[in-house]
């Protein structure tokens, strides 16, 4: 069955696609967004592991005690993952704004390290 491996393959693909974006990025905001894509692959992997064929959501509001359900433990972990991921994205974007203000550029290629810059200042 395709569905036996498809969720895992999609998680792996999303992870690698995000990594490709990180490496080739030309704009720091783009880099941060790609990082959040990398993180979203972990949501997929966790939920794919928790999913049960023929199971329903682990919410017993309108189903019987013995219905087959997805694993609530991995779902709770994914919930934590999303919230922490959003917090990290906000913090990284704030740092990006600071970089843009202080260095006047958001292209990783143009951002030389502070060390390099101070060395040049001393030399010149």
């Amino acid at each position: 069955m395709t569905l036996d491996w498809l969720p895992y393959a999609v998680a792996g693909w999303v992870f690698l696609a995000g990594c490709y974006g990180l490496v080739t990025s030309r704009h720091l905001v783009h880099t941060v967004v790609c990082l959040s894509i990398v993180q979203s692959s972990t949501y997929l992997l966790l939920l794919a592991i928790g999913w049960t064929r023929g199971g329903t959501a682990p919410v017993y509001a309108d189903i019987g005690r013995h219905r087959k359900v997805a694993d609530p433990v991995v779902q709770a972990m994914t919930l934590t993952d999303i919230v922490v991921g959003a917090a990290v994205t906000a913090l990284l974007l704030a740092l990006t704004v600071q970089v843009a203000k202080r260095r006047g550029s958001v292209d990783p290629r143009e951002l030389r390290s502070l060390e390099e810059e101070s060395r040049e200042e001393r030399a010149g």
């Binding site: 498809l6 690698l16 990594c19 490496v23 017993y60 694993d71 919230v83 917090a87 913090l91 704004v97």
Partner: protein, 249 residues
């Protein structure tokens, strides 16, 4: 050459990761056929505490202490963002010919804002208060409630939001939300068997008054998450949206 280096390294690392990663994923049991010993025990425990929503039972009851850590991460990230985005004096001078204006907003957008505001508030409140019964909870509801404030921003203008923010209401709410979670946990230490232990009667499963302290925890999380979200977005707005002074008046 130096510029190509990251790309070459990236391709090599990516290829290695792809090969090993996909081999590892192939060794997992097929999706949908994974045994869940922890999941079954978590569900049994959720019923023991009369919580219909097993996911909320895991996050707030069984892993309540982890969620406290997660909340503190969120608090720290919000404080960090607010600090990083504060306006410096030099910046204020540079931006002097600009101000936060009620830019041009289409009447239609304004109308949608007015209409959706009460609906969003209602949905947010419902999602928070029914978190232990149906899908939802403090995090989801807090986000919905925070987005209601941005509908208010669309319908009114930045100054309304600014007044709310400078009143110190949000900072207080942010702190109170985090404190509330700890306080409920400490109450468990006094009245129950330990930190974050259930100290309220668990009630009847599927009833609004069930699950012991979980609804209270959900409310405190909603306050904290909502305030954090509003604070962070407000800081970004303050940085991004400035209009020339003449355009604003």
């Amino acid at each position: 050459m130096r510029r190509q280096l990251p790309l070459v390294l990236g391709v090599l690392g990516g290829a290695a990761l792809a090969v090993t990663g996909f081999r590892a994923l192939a060794a997992l049991p097929g999706a949908g056929h994974v045994p869940h010993p922890y999941g079954e025990r978590a569900v049994a425990d959720a019923f023991h505490h009369d919580t219909a929503n097993a996911v909320v039972a895991v996050t707030l009851d069984q892993r309540g202490f982890d969620t406290l850590g997660e909340e503190l991460i969120l608090l720290a990230a919000a404080i960090g963002t607010v600090l990083l985005l504060r306006r410096l004096t030099a910046e204020a001078e540079e931006d002097a010919p600009h101000e936060y204006g009620p830019g041009e907003i289409f009447e239609g957008v304004r109308l949608v804002g007015y209409v959706l505001l009460p609906v969003t508030l209602l949905v947010g409140g419902y999602v928070v208060l029914h978190g232990h019964l149906s899908p939802g909870g403090g995090f989801q509801g807090g986000t919905v409630l925070a987005s209601a404030l941005y509908l208010a921003y669309l319908a009114a203008d930045h100054r309304t939001l600014e007044r709310l923010r400078t009143a110190g209401l949000l900072d207080t709410a942010e702190g109170l939300g985090a404190f509330g979670y700890v306080a409920i946990g400490l109450a468990g230490l006094v009245a129950g068997s330990g930190f974050l232990a259930d100290w309220l009667p668990t009630g009847t499963v599927r009833d609004l008054r069930s699950s012991g302290t979980l609804p209270l925890l959900n409310v405190s999380i909603a306050v904290e998450v909502g305030a954090a979200f509003v604070l962070v977005v407000a800081k970004f707005l303050e940085q991004a949206i400035l209009v020339p002074r003449e355009e604003a008046s």
